[in-house]
């Protein structure tokens, strides 16, 4: 708190003297971030602009030298992406996937973090063990789960049958009623550790004197959690959720490996790749990539506005 008043105070006291110092400071700051900005511009900005440019043309992958400007045809034309039912089903799939998987991962991640935060000798070991799924590359874990969930030679079906839970093996990935649920399951398995780790870091920042005071006052555990722990780690939880949500909105590898080109589980990114590469429609594919980009931007801006209001409200 004190540091905030210090930095906030000077401009009010002597603006003219400060401004030159501030200006030189600002110059210095810009100079220092310039290399990073340039690199970002080169590796993120340029491809983005190129994609947006392509989205206004009828470019084909086979021959990128011949293309014509077609304006917004790829977006709102008769066969534009915004009029394609398949695109909207991909959007629906992705949103559904993001909401369900991020919710599950948050709840599970928080419980794992709480468990790991209780002091115990095995804690360091457990923390390392929990991280394993996160450390495995998605392609590998997707393939691994595909094998384990196979209905012909998958170990999971054997285990479930052994326990007497099912009579006949379930085709987790091929069955249209199960495949979406299976993909969410694998994503939750993979990314819960990430959430748990971020939340564990937040939990360890909570000052112990709060808990001590609560213990002295004899506050029940559940109330300690809802009134002390949760409010104090909430900002970190929100950040973790946003990271995950942004990641989930562009989900690609898991779905691509596990169910390939099936319409039932197609996400926005899978749709974009299909148009761009399989169908060679660089123009149309770039248009859908741009829409995907805008959806993510919209989401990020909404989140930033929300947190800013919340910060100012406090």
């Amino acid at each position: 708190m004190t540091s905030q008043t210090l930095t906030a105070a000077p401009p009010v006291r002597a603006p003219s003297v400060q401004s030159s110092l501030q200006r030189s400071r600002q110059r210095m700051a810009w100079l220092l971030v310039a290399p990073a900005l340039l690199v970002l511009l080169a590796i993120a900005g340029w491809p983005l602009l190129r994609t947006i440019w392509f989205s206004l043309t009828d470019a084909q992958l086979g021959d990128l030298t011949q293309m014509q400007f077609v304006g917004l045809d790829n977006y709102i034309g008769e066969n534009g992406v915004l009029r394609d039912a398949e695109w909207w089903s991909a959007v629906a799939n992705t949103l559904q996937f993001s909401v369900i998987s991020v919710t599950l991962e948050t709840v599970l991640g928080l419980s794992v973090a709480l468990l790991l935060n209780t002091p115990s000798r095995a804690r360091t070991l457990l923390r390392a063990a929990v991280l394993v799924p996160w450390a495995i590359p998605t392609i590998v874990s997707a393939k691994m789960w595909s094998w384990m969930l196979n209905d012909q030679y998958g170990v999971i079906n054997v285990m479930l049958q052994g326990l007497g839970l099912i009579d006949t093996p379930l085709a987790f990935i091929a069955d249209p009623d199960l495949s979406f649920f299976t993909i969410i399951l694998v994503d939750v398995w993979k990314t819960t550790p990430f959430m748990a780790l971020l939340m564990l870091a937040a939990l360890q920042m909570v000052p112990t004197d709060c808990y001590e005071a609560a213990r002295v006052d004899g506050v029940p555990r559940w109330r300690v959690f809802t009134h002390i722990t949760l409010p104090l780690i909430l900002p970190a939880v929100l950040v973790a959720m946003v990271f995950r949500a942004l990641d989930a909105l562009r989900v690609f590898d898991l779905i691509y490996v596990m169910t390939s080109n099936s319409r039932l589980t197609k996400s926005m990114s899978v749709y974009v790749r299909e148009q761009l590469v399989d169908f060679q429609q660089v123009g149309f594919g770039s248009a859908s990539a741009t829409v995907l980009f805008l959806i993510i931007v919209l989401f990020t801006v909404a989140y930033m506005a929300f947190t800013r209001r919340r910060m100012q409200g406090v």
Partner: protein, 422 residues
Amino acid sequence: MKIALMSTAALLALAGTAEAATLRMACGAPGPGQNVCIDSAKEWAKKTGHEVKFVATPNDSNEQLALLQQLLGSGSDKIDVMQIDVVWPGILANQLLDLKPYSKGAEAQHFGSIITNNTVAGKLVAMPWYIDTGMMYYRKDLLGKYRLPAPSTWDEMAATARKIQDAERAAGNDKMWGFVWQGRAYEGLTCNALEWLASFNGGTVVDAQGKVSVNNPYAGKALDTAAKWVGTISPKAVLNFAEEEARGVFQSGNAVFMRNWPYAWSVMNQDGSAVKGKVGVMPLPKGGNGGRHAATLGGWQLAVSKYSKNPQLAADLLLYMTGAQVQKYRAIKGSFNPTIPALYKDPDIIKASPFMAELYPTFSSAVPRPSTVTTGKYNQVSNQFWNATHDVLSGNAKSSDALAQLDRSLKRLAPAGFVSAK
């Protein structure tokens, strides 16, 4: 060979590059098929003193195409010689070398239909390497055990499969299935479904004149027939099976029938295979008495990238690999069907893969996918078709609705009908 060698040497001397060149070749995913390819290419390297490096490609043909498109689209010289699917010449033609100036008429010994397929706008963009058609594998021993004849229609096949599956399960093998095939939403499903359609006289999705023909009652009947297999004689997981998943089940001894390509023959008859010597091959069943035996034409070609730094050498390697000597070796070692009709009378080949002689009529009358007439749009057509089929198979759509919907979306793709670029 000597002449080719000398001319190569002379050319190299002219160019002033005395040292050996390195060529990069992509001939499939790591596995038995690639090993056979590597053997022959190394032979060429030893003869010519050049080096051949191998670029591994993904197993799934859709992904192979994606990789090649990315490499070629960026004008990369990282691949000189590559294998391409029979449906790709129209898609990749712009980035492939015209082989006519190099082939010295070698194309005349191959099947004429494939050479036509590989000729785009007057350019010979690829040489035939091996031909594939769908085949029906079956367990000779099981059909013999239950004294059942080889079925000739799909319905007979389903009845036979059901009978054996039930009997074998009752006898203790509860993993037994009647029929495995390729039902994953990918190009392989297009090949399978095209066979069903054609066997019921339901056409080939888009006809030779470029008109969308898929919305007809025969096609509906074909899809309904296949949809009935899922969950009865085929595991539900077949909806996510590609070639290797199907072979996995069949080769473990857990299926009576399997639809697959010729490559499976040699792998299943190797030592250590549970079904070695128990496998028979027959044409794919007819769709009822009025139908016909139909097998989708597949197969792979070799092509040279336009961006290759050594086009002359690359073409030389390609012609060596597609020549009669190597094709014979490949037919015996890996059961790859030659694209040279004369080789089907070769006694060594017939001894190693008897089915080749038996199925020769099937090869010459195989059903091509509508790639020639749809050219650059073939992938979109195929994708729409396999998705519609997958929807019917998984029970998400009725065949009549799915076909009507497919008809609409294909007509939107080409409002005036598909017109061949040739």
